[in-house]
Every structure is written in C-alpha cells, then in structure tokens.
C-alpha cells in the first residue's frame, strides 16, 4: 500500500512539474510556442476539453440540486454536497483553463464593461461568472459547518430557494449556449455535428453526464475515502441515467433522420469512424448495460456504465470542437504535448482539491441509515487515479 501511495504521488508531482513547465512556455513564449493552434485551427484542445467538456463534467451540481431541492427527491440528499463540490471545482478549473487559452487573459474583466449582448460567448461568460458565484454560496455551508458558524448557515438557508432557482436557470442557459457557440459555423462544422439543435443537445448531454458523473464520483470517493454509499442512491441515479441516455439517443437520431443523414452516418468515412466511436460509447454500450436489471442493481456495473457514458460524451464534444473542423480546414490538428500537459495539470488539480475538500470539510454525511446495504468498496473496480485519496497527506 505504501509503495502504491508513493507511486501516485510521484505521478501527481510529475504532472504538476510538466504542467508548470508548459505554463512557463505559455506565458513567456506565447500561444504559438505552447500549442499547435494556427490561423486555420484557432480553437484547440483547451476549448474542446477544458471548456466544453469541463463545463459538461461539472453538470452534476445543477442536476443533483435540481433533483433534491426542486423536485424534492429526498433519497438523493447524500450526493448533493459532493456534486456541488465537483461543480464548484469544475467551474473554477474551467476559468483556470480559460486563463491559458485566452490570448490576453489579463483583460478577461473587459467582459463586464465592454458588453456585447449579441454574442453567445458574452452570454456564456456572464452565466459562468454568475453561476460560479452561486456555486460558491451553495458550497459555503460546508465551510460554516466545519467551523460551526450557525448565523451564516441560517442566512444562507434563507436565500437557498433563490440560489437553487438561479443556479438551475443559469445552468440551463450556459450549458445550452456552449452548443449555440457553434451555430454560426454552418459551413465549417461537419454536418454530422452541425445542427440547429446543438443547444438542445448540449443541454441534454449535460444532464446525462451530470447523472453519470455523480455515480462516478460518489463510487470513486466511497472507495478512496472509505465512505458509506447507499445502494438506493446509485440505483435511482442509474435508472435516471438510462432515461437520459434514451432521450439523448432519440433526439440525435431524430435529428439525423430529419436532416436525411441516416444513410451517410453508416457509410465509412473519416468523420464516420469518430461518430461511431462516439455513438458506441454514449449510447450503444451504456444503454445495453443499463437495460439489464443486474447492472442497475450493482454498484460496480453502474460505475463502469457511468465511466463509459462520460467518455462517450467527451468524445462527442471533442468531435464537435476538433474532428468536425478537419475536413473544412484540410489538415489534422494534433495538440502539442504541452497542451496535453496543461490539461492534465488542471485535471490533477481538480482531483487534489476534491481530495483536500473531502478531507477537511463535511462533504460526505456520516452514515445516517447504517441498516442500508453498504457498498462493498473493496471489490469495486476503480480505474481512475486514487490521487484524491492521498491529497494533502
């Protein structure tokens, strides 16, 4: 165990060191030196992964807040805090990613004074800024509880309904608007991914990924921190995920059918290969898995299905941001290693901060119903890095 612990710590340190080196290149040599972005490919991995996927991966926050506080699904209560924490960290890291990608990040505040209300980017920016503030307030009770400050907790509880409604409203707006960003490129983005329905797809996929990420992160933390995890929570989330995946799949195929692309998507081509990969990971595998009751009742299988879903939708967004432009541009874009290393560093920071927060703040409730079947964490196949378990050691 001790060797393994050191191993992951070494991995973490290596990632951070490479990331810091790349950061130096980014800020002292410029975007041209650190990335393979060009005039033909002005948006690369950082927009595709850090921004589009980052915001999607943080969708668990508004999904769980919506389920528990808006629809009063009381039994999901135990996952709200980790989901809000993930969302809060996700948005902070999204902003960190933006500071790397923007050519003149020191002017990011211009958004507040030179407003252009016609710009989708402006809307996304404002929503993200406001929503991160909302998430901060939703996260604050953890800190207040830790230090046992009753008065501020009462104050936050008073404004909680406003935070909840505002948070979901802002999430609806910017999750879908990330898709609207691409509406202005009908002649550039490949028809497999360009559709007037992009904002709807981005919102629908955010909900599915929000559910999948909640399954993933609660199972993962149960394993890493030895927490109790109620099976009923996972079963509810798994059922909801199956519904969300079906809705996504039907919307996607209805769109292909309406635009007369059904035959084309099955014909082998460069784009089709990536589309097949995406559709297999997002729909075929997880929907098939979740259709079996055995899978829906097993934490390990649910964990695998949620990972598959998340990977699938990441592929989807990378296809939209990168692969979908290659035919128009006429050449491939392969990110430079320094681009990867900065993205990796941001992900590693996310895991580490999550670990620290769980260690020092009351994110996970103490087992309130000890009679509930406990997740057998020893046998859960955990694939992702256990760095978070040892952060701050």
């Amino acid at each position: 165990m001790k060797i393994k612990l050191t191993f992951w710590k070494v991995v973490f340190i290596v990632i951070m060191a490479l990331g810091l080196y790349s950061s130096f290149i980014r800020y002292f040599r410029g975007l041209g030196a650190v990335s393979n972005m060009t005039d033909q490919f002005p948006w690369g991995l950082w927009i595709g992964f850090d921004c589009l996927c980052g915001v999607m991966l943080a969708a668990g926050g508004f999904c769980m807040v919506g389920a528990v506080y808006l629809f009063n699904v009381e039994r999901l209560h135990s996952v709200v805090r980790p989901a809000v924490l993930t969302a809060f960290l996700g948005y902070i890291l999204f902003i960190v990613g933006l500071l790397y990608d923007l050519g003149r990040p020191w002017y990011i505040w211009h958004q507040l004074i030179y407003m252009n209300p016609h710009s989708v980017m402006f809307e996304v920016g404002m929503c993200v800024m406001t929503y991160t503030t909302v998430l901060f307030f939703e996260f604050l009770p953890n800190v207040f509880e830790r230090f046992n400050l009753q008065t501020p907790i009462r104050l936050i509880k008073k404004i909680y309904p406003v935070l909840i409604v505002l948070g979901i409203l802002l999430s609806t707006l910017h999750q879908s608007s990330l898709g609207s960003l691409y509406l202005i490129m009908p002649s550039k983005l490949h028809p497999f991914w360009y559709t007037p329905a992009l904002p709807f797809f981005f919102f629908a996929s955010a909900v599915a990924v929000g559910l999948a990420m909640t399954i993933f992160e609660s199972t993962q933390s149960a394993k890493a921190f030895g927490r109790h995890l109620e099976l009923s929570v996972l079963v509810t989330l798994g059922g909801a995920l199956l519904v969300a995946l079906w809705v996504n799949a039907l919307l996607r195929f209805e769109d292909y059918f309406r635009r007369g692309l059904i035959r084309q998507i099955f014909k082998p081509s460069y784009e089709a290969y990536f589309l097949w990969l995406e559709l297999t990971l997002t729909f075929v595998i997880p929907i098939t898995m979740l259709s079996f009751k055995k899978v829906r009742l097993s934490p390990q299988w649910l964990y695998l299905a949620s990972i598959c879903t998340v990977l699938g939708f990441i592929t989807n967004r990378l296809n939209i941001a990168l692969i979908g432009f290659e035919t128009y541009v006429g050449h491939h874009y392969i990110p430079k290693w320094t681009e990867f290393s900065i993205t990796l560093m941001i992900i590693a920071m996310g895991f580490a901060l999550f670990g620290l927060a769980v260690k020092y703040l009351p994110i996970f409730p103490e087992a309130r119903h000890p009679v509930q079947p406990r997740l057998r964490t020893e046998t859960a196949p955990v694939l992702a890095t256990p760095v978070l378990g040892h952060a701050g050691d």
């Binding site: 800020y27 002292f28 040599r29 410029g30 975007l31 041209g32 030196a33 972005m37 060009t38 005039d39 033909q40 002005p42 948006w43 506080y69 808006l70 629809f71 009063n72 990608d101 923007l102 050519g103 003149r104 990040p105 002017y107 990011i108 211009h110 958004q111 030179y114 407003m115 252009n116 209300p117 016609h118 710009s119 989708v120 980017m121 402006f122 809307e123 920016g125 309904p161 909840i164 409604v165 979901i168 409203l169 609806t172 707006l173 608007s177 609207s180 960003l181 509406l183 202005i184 490129m185 009908p186 002649s187 550039k188 007037p196 904002p199």
Partner: protein, 257 residues
C-alpha cells in the same frame, strides 16, 4: 454613403503593389520574402494569388452584417457607417471566436506574441475619414482594385459584365454572399478556385442570424423558466408543508379527544 472596393481580376497584372501599399499603410514589414508568401497572415492582410496566368486577390470582405462583430464578447469589432469593419485592440481579450466564426477566414492571430492581437484588413478607415481612397486602391496601376461608393461600384460591376459578357462570369462575388459585403469580385474564373468559400455553401443569410435566432429568445426564456422553476419548487415544498401541517393537526385532534 457606404464605401466599398471592387476588385476586377481580369484587369489585375499581379504586380502585388496592393500588398506593398497595404503593408506600408499598416506599418507591416514587406520585402521579397513576404511578397513570396501566398497566404494571408498577421503580417499580410492582403495577398495576390497566381494560378496559371490569372490572378486573384484576397482581403477582408467587410460584410454588411459581420460575423466577427456579432460574436465578439467584448464588441472589439464594429462596422462603421463608411463601410470598414474595424477592430479595437484595447477591448480584445483574445478568445479568437471571430476567427472561427468568419466564413472567409480573414482574422489572423499573432501567435508568437505575448500580448497577441487579431489582425485583418481594416479598409484604411483613417484614409477614408480623410476623404481619400484605400492604400491598395490608390496604388493599383491598372485600376483592378477600385474604391468608391458601394452603390456606384455595384452598378459599375453590372455594367462591365453587360458590356463584355464573354470576359466575365455572370456574377459579382460579395453582392449577396452572407447578406452582402463591401468588397466585390469580378472574375473570369470562379473565386472559389482561389480559396474563397463557395457561394452555395455559405448562402445569402447574414451570419449573425444563425446565433441571433437563439439569442433573441433568451429575454423571453429567462422570466418564463424562472417562473417555471420557482413554481416547481413551491409545489414540491408545499406538499411537504401540507403534509407536516396535517400531521400536526391530526396530533392535536388526537390529543384533544
């Protein structure tokens, strides 16, 4: 009073005077090496391309409804009433949305700079304001690039096509593309062969409309969705309150009897 440029490829002799005039006006380096570059870049706003014995010039089209201006989150681009689409560098945050949004791929970036700017032809707004013509039009020895009133240039282009229909393709590139531009191209070969986007592909719809259709709905969407969310919250919590109140009532009734 909107100004425009008319480029007639059949009159162009490929002398690249417009390139050097442009570079001089915009304080860009220009030597034999730059002249040999056949693509636009942050230091080359316009380029004259050669194919067989024919020439074609590329530059910012100065759209009537520019995509770059509509997508910029800080409004760093705007279309002036004189015609040019200009760039306010001090506003720019460097998101490069203008570059991905432009159908003509005109905005270029200073990738090597630590404080990078977006660079493109801005149609010499200072010269136009002073009542002069653009640097490229002023320097052109054959009149292939002509500066003038937009309406006048359109009728002149139509006249040229009418007078020598065998010389020209029967169309003015830029007249209707993406809702019309302020740069018109007359040629005997399709502009598409030189890298211009196909008219059929980009269409006549102004680009801002694609996102505008969604953005216009947001002011209505916000109050409706807020009310809906508030309503759901109220109903689902009201149910709890009623249940709690009923339980309380039952308890009191029970103890009363």
């Amino acid at each position: 009073m909107s100004k425009a440029l008319l480029y007639d490829a059949t009159m162009c002799i490929g002398c690249k005077q417009c390139e050097s005039g442009c570079a001089q006006q915009n304080n860009l380096p220009y030597d034999d090496k730059v002249a040999a570059e056949s693509v636009q870049s942050a230091h080359k706003y316009t380029v004259v391309m050669t194919k067989d014995d024919k020439f074609m010039r590329r530059l910012c089209m100065h759209c009537e409804k520019p995509a770059c201006a509509s997508v910029c989150p800080v409004g760093a681009f705007h279309k002036t009433k004189e015609g040019p689409v200009v760039y306010d560098v001090w506003k720019c945050i460097g998101c490069r949305y203008c570059m991905v949004a432009c159908v003509f791929g005109q905005p270029k970036y200073e990738w090597q700079s630590l404080n990078p700017r977006v660079r493109k032809c801005i149609m010499c707004p200072d010269l136009i304001a002073a009542g002069k013509q653009t640097a490229c039009a002023a320097i052109c020895p054959t009149g292939a690039t002509k500066f003038g009133e937009r309406d006048d240039l359109i009728s002149e282009a139509k006249d040229r096509i009418r007078q020598s229909p065998s010389t020209y393709l029967p169309r003015i590139y830029g007249l209707n593309e993406v809702g019309g531009t302020s740069v018109f191209i007359l040629s005997s070969v399709n502009a598409e062969e030189y890298g211009y986007p196909a008219s059929a592909k980009i269409g006549d719809t102004p680009m801002p409309e694609y996102t505008g259709r969604v953005m216009d709905r947001i002011p209505d969407f916000i109050p409706v969705w807020t009310l809906a969310l508030g309503g759901i919250y109220w109903i689902s919590h009201r149910r709890d309150e009623v249940a709690a109140a009923e339980a309380e009532e039952r308890k009191q009734n029970g103890s009363g009897k």
